[in-house]
């Protein structure tokens, strides 16, 4: 009944899952429900290693439901409703697509499906159904409505799983369905152009939304949406190099979000506070956490010399090769705007002046550091050896039937447009850092340490510790003065979905009214129905 196969693609995703789960399960968490987590883990394994559509679907549903029950422990009922409605829709869409494919192809096994047998007219609806599934799971506009609330309200550690792995199930589905099962030659290109634009618009909107957030986890949730937007954009190019770039970004994003969510979970564990306006100046209390977060946001922003740059580089060069200039402009714009929320994240928590006292802070268990360390080390390693990722993806590309990219050394990331050497870059950074540090410390000028954090240049006045000096909330507020960003910030899909829910509520009331009508009306309706049938039949 259920068929499984070990594929390189499955290996990659399952490997990521393994890293995330193994490191996260080490963290002691009294609220965690272990059986459900194991069920979720197993379901992810089923998805990644399935080799027929029914198995895939079963895995998919188990994944949705097991995460539902995990989220249900902490989330509000509205959030749960949002989650389950959207994920049910995703499941139904997937089921619909599978049924249609199987009905015409006659088999559920990946290898035997010939999409050519599906009539032309049905190909677009099937693609659309799959789009809906992928968009809901990965949170592409306008289907990201459930994502942010769910991320915010689920358990702090589970948010990491949601962002790092479960959102990637949509990416996995994209690659498997479109490149392996259906095959790019049968697909309608313009539909995917629209999807690419949807992806990039998602990332722009989510970036600005992220900047204006006040809650730590909401910022990260929007940032997840934005990053997955890039992946979808580059996958929707339907190219081998696109898959390569998408996979690279998937890896980076998984690691980064693992690091960031666990880091923020640690901060919330220590302080019990969840807002930028309540935190600040934790740098000298938790330097290790700070440096880990710094590594995380450097990778998130895609700055050299860490691994984050490699995937951005691949995305850009892929778009350049396809001459998608406008798409590339939009991607770069979004990624340039992302610096602001990256900085807000690190400033709001670790820098600036403390807002409020530090009483009641808890000791952080060492287990919180492990996932962050693992992620950070891999990110640094990928920065030095950028072609490590390519080495990893080449079997996948080969198994999917794409051209394999070549690389001369692991240090160098080579594309048709350009190449760069990660080892040289990292070496240069280290060398310059060391030299300048030497210069600074050996200088004649003594650095006099300020004992009082409030000894700042404050226009001659003396700041009062009672007054807030932490800019955590204010950062990004000024964006509302810029007209096009204001448009983004003040509109949300919430109103749209609320409208739909109101509409469906109204219609259900109508249906209900229909049922509560008197018998004579029902008779009338039946008469009407048959009359219409008769007319139709005569025609």
């Amino acid at each position: 009944m259920f068929n499984f196969a070990m594929t390189p693609l499955g290996n990659l995703f399952f490997g990521l899952t393994l890293i995330v789960f193994a490191s996260l399960l080490l963290i002691k968490n009294e609220r965690r429900d272990l059986p459900l987590h194991i069920l979720l883990f197993a379901s992810l394994g089923v998805i990644f290693y399935a080799s027929d559509l029914i198995t895939l679907f079963v895995g998919w549903e188990i994944m949705s439901w097991s995460s539902y029950f995990i989220i249900a422990k902490s989330a509000r009922i509205e959030t749960l409703q949002k989650y389950i409605i959207f994920n049910l829709a995703a499941g139904f869409a997937l089921l619909g697509a599978i049924v249609l494919i199987v009905a015409f192809a006659g088999t559920t096994l990946y290898g035997e499906i010939d999409f050519g047998k599906v009539p032309e007219a049905l190909r677009v609806p099937i693609t659309l159904l799959l789009f809906v599934t992928i968009a809901i799971k990965s949170g592409i506009m306008p289907f990201h409505y459930w994502v942010v609330d769910t991320y915010e309200e689920s358990d702090h550690i589970f948010s990491a799983i949601l962002s790092a792995i479960i959102s990637k199930a949509g990416i996995f589905l994209f690659i498997v369905i479109f490149s392996q099962i259906i095959g790019y030659r049968y697909l309608h290109g313009s539909l995917f152009d629209i999807l690419a634009w949807l992806g990039v618009i998602t990332s722009i909107v989510a970036t600005f939304k992220a900047i204006s957030q006040e809650e730590l986890k909401r910022l990260l949730a929007y940032s997840s949406i934005a990053q997955i937007g890039y992946i979808v954009t580059v996958l929707a190019l339907l190219e081998g190099s696109g898959i390569e770039a998408g996979l690279y970004h998937t890896i980076i994003h998984t690691l980064v979000k693992l690091l960031l969510f666990v880091n923020i979970a640690s901060i919330i564990y220590i302080t019990g506070k969840t807002k930028f306006s309540q935190l600040g100046n934790l740098l000298y209390d938790y330097p290790a956490l700070f440096i880990l977060l710094l590594i995380g946001i450097i990778a998130l922003a895609g700055m050299p010399p860490l691994g984050g740059f490699n995937s951005k580089f691949l995305i850009y060069t892929t778009l350049l090769e396809k001459k998608k200039a406008l798409l590339l402009v939009a991607v770069m714009f979004s990624s340039a705007s992302a610096f602001l929320y990256c900085y807000k994240l690190i400033y709001g928590i670790y820098l600036g002046q403390a807002s409020g006292d530090k009483e009641g802070y808890r000791e952080l268990p060492m287990s919180f550091y492990i996932p962050q360390f693992i992620a950070a080390i891999i990110l640094v390693l990928l920065g030095i050896l950028p072609s490590l990722g390519i080495a990893l993806f080449n079997p996948i590309l080969g198994s999917l039937g794409f051209e394999v990219s070549s690389y001369s050394s692991l240090f160098e990331l080579h594309t048709a447009f350009a190449s760069f050497n990660g080892g040289v870059l990292m070496g240069l950074f280290g060398l310059v850092f060391a030299l300048i540090l030497l210069l600074v410390t050996s200088m004649r000028s003594k650095a006099v340490k300020v004992r009082d954090r409030y000894d700042i240049s404050y226009c001659g006045e003396t700041p009062d510790p009672q007054n807030n000096l932490h800019y955590g909330y204010g950062m990004g507020q000024e964006l509302r003065r810029i007209s096009f960003i204001r448009v983004i910030l003040e509109n949300s899909t919430a109103t749209y979905w609320e409208h739909i829910s109101k509409l469906s509520g109204d219609s259900s009331v109508m249906v209900k009214k229909l049922y509560s009508l008197g018998t004579q009306y029902i008779g009338l309706f039946i008469l009407l129905f048959f009359t219409i049938l008769l007319f139709l039949g005569v025609r």
Binding site: V448, V450, S457, E461
Partner: protein, 208 residues
């Protein structure tokens, strides 16, 4: 001490001119070079404490153009080398002036501008202004007059540069560090214990 003049006052100019009492010029070559650079580049924190602020725009703009001498205005005390106390200081202002001065990094110099910083000037009998600035801060250069002309200001700067370059007099910041108790006591006369907050801490850090 040089001989007193008939009025019983010490002739300050004679003190300055007297080789015996002027500070021995014992700069090493390196120190000479360092002092040359310090004299050549002066970042000024022009604190407009009083009327004197009105003669600041002319010296920084095109008529008198003090940037020729390497004198530039900066906004924050952290980068400044020279604090210009321009005119009388009310008690409230004095506190801010002292705080700005303490936030400056050594070497730092103070220019007192106008008669009010010397002896209270016009406001000798005012209840809210200090009379002698050098009871609270070490003043390296006084420029008298009400208003001092821009030319006088420029001359003050040139003299101060000369003093720094040739190490003619002991810089005020050293006095402030070494005779801190004196200044502190005078400041406390005005502010009570409620003086600038990071006063002690800054000096504690410096001695390390």
């Amino acid at each position: 001490m040089p001989e007193n003049t008939q009025e019983g006052f010490i002739d300050q100019q004679k003190v300055l001119d007297n080789e015996e009492y002027s500070i021995k010029n014992t700069q090493s070559i390196i120190q000479k070079a360092v002092d040359w650079f310090r004299a050549r580049s002066m970042f000024v924190l022009a604190y407009g404490t009083g009327c004197g602020a009105i003669e600041m725009p002319p010296i920084f703009t095109s008529r008198y153009d003090i940037e020729r001498l390497g004198v530039v205005g900066v906004a924050t005390p952290r980068q400044a080398d020279i604090l210009i106390v321009s005119g009388y200081c009310s008690y409230k202002t004095l506190k801010r002036v002292i705080r700005s001065y303490e936030q400056m990094n050594e070497p730092k110099y103070v220019i007192g501008l106008g008669s009010c910083t010397i002896n209270g000037g016009m406001y000798w009998d005012s209840y809210n202004t200090i009379k002698k600035l050098d009871e609270y801060l070490p003043v390296d250069m006084y420029i008298n007059g009400c208003m001092p002309r821009p030319e006088a200001l420029i001359e003050g700067f040139v003299k101060l540069q000369d003093n720094i370059r040739n190490a003619k007099s002991e810089a005020g910041y050293i006095q402030y560090r070494e005779n801190n108790a004196f200044y502190r006591a005078n400041q406390e006369k005005i502010f009570g214990k409620n003086t600038t907050p990071t006063f002690e801490e800054n000096f504690a850090g410096m001695n390390q």
